[in-house]
Symmetry: C2
Subunit: 387 residues, 2 copies
Amino acid sequence: MRQRNLSMVMRAIADHGPLSRARIAEHVGLTRAAVSTLVGELAGAELLVELGRDRPGTVGRPGSALALSDRGPAGLGAEIGVDHLAVCAVDLRGEVRVKAEESAPNRDSSPSLVLGRLAGLVRRVADEAGAGGLRPAGLCVAVPGPVERGSTRVVRTPNLGWPPVDLGDALSGTLPEPVPMTVANEANLGALAELWIGGHGPGLTDFVHVSAEIGIGAAVVVDGELLRGAHGFAGELGHVPVRPEGLPCRCGGRGCLEQYAGEAAVLHAAGVVAPAGAGVELLRRSASDGDRAVLEALCGAGSALGIALTATVQLLDPQAVVLGGALAELATWLAPAAEEELRRRLQLPRSRLVVSRLGRSGPLLGAAHSVVRAVLDDPLASGAPAG
Amino acid sequence: MRQRNLSMVMRAIADHGPLSRARIAEHVGLTRAAVSTLVGELAGAELLVELGRDRPGTVGRPGSALALSDRGPAGLGAEIGVDHLAVCAVDLRGEVRVKAEESAPNRDSSPSLVLGRLAGLVRRVADEAGAGGLRPAGLCVAVPGPVERGSTRVVRTPNLGWPPVDLGDALSGTLPEPVPMTVANEANLGALAELWIGGHGPGLTDFVHVSAEIGIGAAVVVDGELLRGAHGFAGELGHVPVRPEGLPCRCGGRGCLEQYAGEAAVLHAAGVVAPAGAGVELLRRSASDGDRAVLEALCGAGSALGIALTATVQLLDPQAVVLGGALAELATWLAPAAEEELRRRLQLPRSRLVVSRLGRSGPLLGAAHSVVRAVLDDPLASGAPAG
């Protein structure tokens, strides 16, 4: 009960911005006295700060407003991409306070090597965050593949080619003080970031988030919850057949979307060779410059995407399809062809096609925010302040 | 609270069979005295009956066992098919007590004509049920098309060709005493019947139920709940593209599954002409007799189904795909080709392919059971006994 009340106070401020004790009491339906006690505890744990009585822009005597702290618990998000590593620290207000990134040929490296580098990056970000008065409340790692439900074990990483690996084991001991660690599929975290901070407003609760980094993945959000699938494999949009008797796919299937709209397929169709990790940027630049072969390749990819999205819309009937990740950067050229295909195949254009504003930052931000949201859910679980 | 307790008592008996007051008390976590009061109320409303102290097969003194009543509230289910009408009454024990069916060329009739005939059938079944001591607690109508959420309005009936029609208006006044009425998509009711009485056990909570009556529809069940879609149109498996540049479909799309595995398509591929309403039975008989053209047509339909199911499994990752409705009757010939296609396209055969035991009765049974379940949820809402 106390945990729930503490969480309600934190959420009220997270949703509405700084509030006086009286306004918090209204929002959460508790007495002012009860709220004062809760606020005292939260402030003591560096979760809330008093903004002072004379906030500019307010009239009358609003009472001292309370805001989420810019010190205290922070969410650490990490991302293992096919050709990069990234880590960030997000404070309770949702602000990215530290970010570090490095390009890394993860596809050709052993898991232990990559995870060693990642651990170094996590330590660097945690140190810098600590210098800013933040302490990690948890670490969430985004990976390009499905994760065993309720564990830190990555089952498959088709684009990394790793054997199954338990990141919990490999990354334990990374920080001087152990923190709770979770591992999640990057496609799912990108979708959650879209839900939480995508800027679509609270009305968008049923959507499919399509993202790409070499492979094409999707995450399905229903009623504001991720649809994970019975075995954790839902959302494999990249392996929906779009030319059923077409090209063989490395998944063992045939004519999968990835063979027509994946990065390698588009580069190949455009007759372009790009160094690892530079493909999307090269396509974006060439398309901007009006390169005809690239424009045609992106148009073809958009059509193939439109066929797979037709299947998706017929089966799931979402409010919207959000193009995220690297697709967001190419949306100018992909989306028109995809939309034309959807219009051609669906009587009514039921589901909107929307371009993500988070783009490739989605999974990393989703990872860090998942930790911040866990703190809001159980504010005092993240331990007493270090000092 | 009282409603919840009454419901818990009913559900305990529905789930476990006849129970003594003491065993009910254990199951629901209330005192024996409280249970006795609740049981008294439920027996007074003809919802429970006392089986007597000497049940055969029990040892010791089990106390008088209570069972769900075979009198009192009953669920009326009705079905508007493309070429038939059906109505049934199911008692609280889940037993079908009355059933009436007639073939009816609904596709070529006006809604008012069809609904007039249906009302007559509902009255007949309600009368017969009344003679057996049952009184309708509600009516649920299964229709071949999507229904506006929370209403009795049928939005589209592609295979009936009706304009949008409100069944609540049209069927009000059917029974001498008005009862709550709901209208639902037959595909959804078929899936719910599978969930409730399909005999798969409580472990099957995530599945896709595919059914066919001329068109091909599906319903998606996630965590034991129907996935309805943002606009109520989820599950349109029949319009997933399986030959993207193939035959035009009456939906406006191209290469939809229905053009390759719908009843008309299979009849056409087999070079068979069947009178309306007799297509599936004709195919079944010819296939049983080893008619080569029919066998080949069903094999082709199964392959097309396998492609659409590949998309479904990739996106949703269900525990199982259940072939229901008319498909269940043709499953012997459809399923092997569909399974081969799934095996060819999916690395791991993640989702089982299962044939429904309910077959074409699913939607009608689902309709009647949805009323029975509403009675179990709120046992005394169905009014006092008539006598």
